[in-house]
Symmetry: C2
């Protein structure tokens, strides 16, 4: 096992990211593909298989040099059977046995999991949740994803669907959410919703990363936007903190770049509203691994299945 | 160990309940004491020690016949060091090393834990959560307590304070809660709050168990009360279901006697608002062990510490 390489893959709404790692999980190569050209599940899986062939070939490796491939997917996954139930933001997938198909196409061991779970696994092993006993990881983007580390292990729940922090209701009443529920955290702080808030506050469209830069320069309107996001997110985290009593919260995804104003507001809400013992124990950090987290998590998943963790 | 007895103790706001169990956790004796006579922590701990002496003596046993005593307390507990941090509804306790004091006074092995955790442990081993992999237990009373079974084990969190379902906010804004937060589930469905709702609906005070009987006879006002409670509790459970993806929810405490109308409403909210995969997996049951759960949980705690579980 020592000299074997591992492939980590992260499928998002925009990009398919694939990386070749050595056995110590150092990047040997990283490649991005646009997912827009793959309209059907079949063509997307073919695209993944081709990307795998390409990265193996370009690095002059053979299949026997590869320990396996780990793939993160944006939806609920039956981890045991390698089946993707559906993807909220990519239509056309219903109970696709992705792992089995990719195993057949590539001849490699293939493992799949939810992308937020893999981000959480990566942050726990190599990032901002390292050393935590119980950690909660979030990714803030178009969707609000989450993963849980419980007693030092990724916790997946009774049907591999745990960690959906974005779909915790934070209000008795509220707007409908993509998930079918309503008043979910994601319906308040998903990127599209923040963009709507930005338009309302600034009377025009401004990209969210620009709003982050403006907040860093003390623009009061930009600060108001991120304080509002932090206030909403804080309420969901009060629930999580009182329920799970974690020692670490790690926040990643584009919105985490909003910086100090966002994190200060989150901490303020936790201190104000969470119970004393729980609030005193938890530390809130920005995620460390950025866009690499998903690929690293995929590689860690292979290690986990191979008994290497 | 086979022939040893175990003592289980449950300290509530109204009663101190103590039981002697045989090694198979069958009740040999059960005694209730009023807690109202114990105004100070010292006198309450003395009272517990005396109750322990009494039950041992009356059953013609010696200390060496007792494997240990397990005690459930109504507040956050440092389980490892046997320290009770404080009790929300019993003033005067700050970081009292209860286990150490009781060990010294009784000469027995003493273990302590939060009462809702012990209720959950009992329901998991012997009650409505038996056979579950991941379970959420609630007790509905003056306070709303909770306990979590994660991967077949009682989960206590990073500072032994996990499971506080009663203090998950279910609204962005709302009334202040005893815990210092606001809009917590408990501030909507704690017994006192339900009593206020009953008075508003019926224009007079009616005991909650009477309201349950009236609901069973299709009284529309009584049904309205329990549907309101179920709607609020349901929202908190949607959060728990989407976050933890449990296979079982067990609801105990006096309010659980409200019956079908309460449970139907809870299930309706979960089906309406929780995510499809998670909602399909979870079953909601009434607790089975009633008032015995705390004492049984105390005895199970002793077994757990003695390697008997």
């Amino acid at each position: 096992m020592k000299n074997k390489y591992i492939i980590g893959i992260d499928l998002g709404g925009t990009y398919l990211k694939i990386a070749l790692f050595d056995s110590s999980l150092r990047f040997k190569e990283k490649k991005f593909f646009s997912t827009s050209e793959f309209s059907q599940p079949e063509s997307l899986i073919d695209g993944i298989a081709e990307a795998v062939f390409e990265i193996i070939k370009e690095n002059k490796l053979k299949n026997s040099d590869i320990l396996g491939a780990g793939l993160g997917l944006p939806g609920p996954i039956d981890v045991k059977n390698g089946v993707a139930h559906f993807f909220p933001n990519i239509p056309g997938w219903i109970d696709v046995p992705v792992a089995k198909i990719l195993r057949k196409k590539t001849g490699l061991e293939v493992f799949i999991d939810n992308d937020a779970n893999l981000m959480c696994l990566a942050e726990f092993r190599m990032g901002s949740a390292k050393g935590a006993k119980n950690a909660v990881c979030l990714t803030l983007g178009t969707g609000v994803g989450g993963g849980l580390i419980i007693e030092g292990k990724l916790y997946r729940g009774s049907s591999y669907a745990a960690g959906e922090i974005g779909h915790m209701p934070i209000n008795l009443k509220g707007r409908p959410c993509n998930c079918g529920g309503f008043a979910c955290l994601e319906s308040y702080i998903g990127n599209r919703r923040i963009a709507t808030l930005v338009k309302k506050v600034f009377k025009k469209d401004i990209p969210l990363d620009e709003v982050s830069r403006m907040a860093a320069k003390n623009n009061s309107k930009a600060i108001r936007v991120w304080e509002d996001v932090g206030a909403k997110l804080g309420v969901a985290l009060v629930s999580v903190v009182n329920l799970l009593n974690p020692d670490r919260i790690v926040i990643g995804g584009g919105v985490a770049n909003a910086g100090r104003v966002l994190f200060s507001k989150i901490e303020e809400v936790i201190i104000t509203r969470a119970m004393v013992v729980q609030a005193a124990k938890v530390k809130v950090f920005k995620a460390k691994l950025g866009n690499d987290a998903g690929m690293l998590g995929g590689a860690l998943l292979v290690k986990e299945h191979s008994g290497g963790l």
